[in-house]
């Protein structure tokens, strides 16, 4: 058999496939992207919370982006406990100072990093939070200490607008 030479027709086939693939991609992408969060969902990205009624040792739960956010006003003992933990004992080492900039206030997503359940307050082996779904224990800084969750509970972006108001998001 004679050696096959690239001819005009081969070029036309390749060019047609290439343009066709781009066309298919251009049609498929909107079909996929339509499932991502839409403009109205993104518009609800921040929320302001009045925390004046929260006394030390209490936690309130607020809804932000459809997820619960725990706002805990920690007691002196709790802050001391959170700071005393050695980073070597942590599965996901993070200093308490990095998690709670104002140590009295711990603001974090109340979502277990395992599979997204809401952990229960003041439960578990470390007096922090305990996730009832698959048994993850968190300490008073929301750091994972025991169980299947891979990381500490997430800290959302937040700031104190004034002494009594926290803006999340």
């Amino acid at each position: 058999m004679a050696e096959k030479k690239t001819n005009r027709r081969d070029f036309l086939f390749t060019a047609t496939y290439a343009v066709g693939a781009v066309g298919v991609g251009a049609v498929v992408w909107p079909m996929i992207d339509q499932m991502n969060p839409d403009a109205s969902v993104k518009a609800l990205a921040s929320t302001e919370v009045d925390v004046s009624a929260v006394t030390p040792g209490k936690t309130i739960t607020v809804l932000w982006r459809g997820k619960p956010v725990f706002i805990r006003r920690r007691t002196e003992d709790e802050i001391a406990e959170a700071k005393s933990v050695s980073l070597k004992d942590l599965k996901h080492p993070e200093k308490d100072e990095d998690r709670a900039k104002n140590p009295e206030w711990l603001v974090m997503l109340g979502v277990c990093t395992h599979l997204g359940c809401v952990p229960l307050d003041q439960k578990g082996d470390y007096n922090g939070w305990f996730c009832p779904c698959h048994g993850s224990h968190y300490d008073i800084s929301g750091r994972i200490r025991k169980g299947p969750a891979p990381t500490n509970m997430e800290i959302p972006e937040y700031k104190f607008v004034d002494a009594n108001t926290i803006k999340i998001g």
């Binding site: 969902v41 809804l63 982006r65 359940c117 809401v118 996730c131 009832p132």
Partner: protein
């Protein structure tokens, strides 16, 4: 496929059949030669077809009254239960129908495992079956979310979060699945769409499943290849039709018992509480038919590995025709496999039980041992057994053990084994 050519008797029939051979297909289905020793474990194919059609019909009706919106879904289900004429009946049939569907599919799968129906030349039938099973699990999960109760919401949260275990892109995939930053209205509406779509995908695959079955023909309790048609076979109609029909009636009695006498026993009371994104129920369990896999997920302490273990537990089934190295199909002639088969059945039941229990202490230990054994069965026991096992000689035909002349007298005497 049919051995003989078929010609319709009437002129009109012939005219039509020459243009679209539907009558040839109907004739193939009625005359289809079936092994005459099929026992009642073989009736579950027909029962499953019934289950699928029941789910599609009741589902269509429910969709006429259900409202897929986070603010209205829960109430619209109560509206179906209280206001819609016979709504309670239709919803209870649909909800319990899912459980009945899985009950039947598990019997169907374990029948295959016992009689080696997944082996050559039936691998494609088996793999299509596994895909159908996966789609059934997806449909069941999506459907369970629709009433928007507490179990719906948190079940959806936990299952979609499984994808977050994927490195790098996991979180993005979860947000994409949700259409937001948590399970919410966009999630509900897309789940409804997909729940509506999947049964029709299953229906298409069922056609392929039956088509692939009709190429080699049915396996049978003796597990030998038979000539078709021959004195070892009977036509599908009326012999198998009437046997399937009888078994279906028995099955419908069980089905009706659940629907009319204890319609909520297979569900969870927490799903009669409307979804609340701030409170997770104290004890989340999936529906009973997913419990063994849930137990496997929880028995692994690492998030990603747990998800991988759970998925592998299902996908390993697709490789079964190649993991089982024995040439003998039926467990009747495999004395060791038969024992391991029952150990596997027990293992899966144990996994189901511990899946329903809290993941701690002794339950966790049992779940870990049972998970290890599950994989051991498929990855070690089955491949090794094919080489090591001394099998009992198989008869040359279905009639042989009954009419005598079998090379194996012991099999002839123990007729109840076949």
């Amino acid at each position: 496929m049919s051995e003989h050519e078929y010609t319709p008797k009437s002129k009109v029939g012939k005219w039509f059949n020459d243009r679209l051979p539907l009558l040839t297909l109907a004739n193939h289905l009625t005359d289809y030669p079936t092994p005459k020793n099929l026992n009642y474990w073989w009736t579950f194919g027909g029962i499953l077809t019934f289950c699928l059609i029941t789910q599609i019909v009741t589902g269509l009706v429910l969709a006429m009254h259900y409202i897929a919106h986070a603010d209205m879904a829960f109430e619209s289900v109560e509206h179906i239960m209280r206001d819609v004429n016979y709504g309670w009946l239709i919803r209870y049939i649909h909800a319990n129908g899912a459980s009945m569907f899985f009950l039947a599919v598990y019997i169907h799968i374990f029948r295959s495992l016992f009689y080696g129906s997944y082996k050559s030349p039936r691998e494609i039938i088996w793999i299509i079956g596994i895909i159908i099973y996966l789609l059934m699990m997806a449909a069941a999960f999506l459907g369970y979310v629709l009433p928007w109760g507490q179990m719906s919401f948190w079940g959806a949260t936990v299952i979609t979060n499984l994808f977050s275990a994927i490195p790098l892109v996991g979180e993005g995939i979860v947000t994409w699945l949700w259409g937001g930053y948590s399970v919410d209205n966009p999630t509900l509406t897309r789940f409804f769409t997909l729940h509506y779509l999947i049964p029709f995908l299953i229906l298409g695959l069922v056609v392929l499943h039956i088509w692939a079955l009709h190429v080699p023909g049915n396996n049978n309790p003796v597990g030998i290849d038979i000539k078709k048609p021959s004195k070892d076979t009977v036509p599908f109609h009326p012999y198998i039709v009437i046997k399937d029909g009888f078994a279906l009636l028995m099955f419908m009695i069980v089905f009706a018992f659940f629907v009319f006498y204890t319609p909520n026993i297979l569900g969870h009371a927490d799903n009669y509480i409307e979804a609340n994104p701030l409170v997770t129920p104290a004890h989340i369990v999936p529906e009973w038919y997913l419990l063994p896999f849930y137990a496997i997920l929880r028995s692994v302490p690492d998030k990603l590995l747990g998800v991988i273990a759970m998925l592998s537990a299902i996908l390993i089934l697709a490789a079964l025709p190649w993991l089982d190295t024995s040439k003998i199909r039926s467990a009747v002639f495999r004395p060791l496999y038969k024992q391991f088969y029952w150990i596997l059945v027990a293992d899966v039941l144990i996994l189901g039980y511990v899946g329903a229990m809290p993941a701690e202490g002794l339950y966790l230990l049992i779940a870990r041992i049972a998970t290890a054994y599950y994989f051991l069965h498929f990855l070690v026991v089955l491949p090794v057994l094919g080489f090591k096992e001394r099998t009992i000689p198989v008869p040359l035909s279905i009639t042989e053990p009954i009419l005598g002349g079998s090379p194996n007298l012991a099999t002839v005497k123990k007729k109840d084994n076949i």
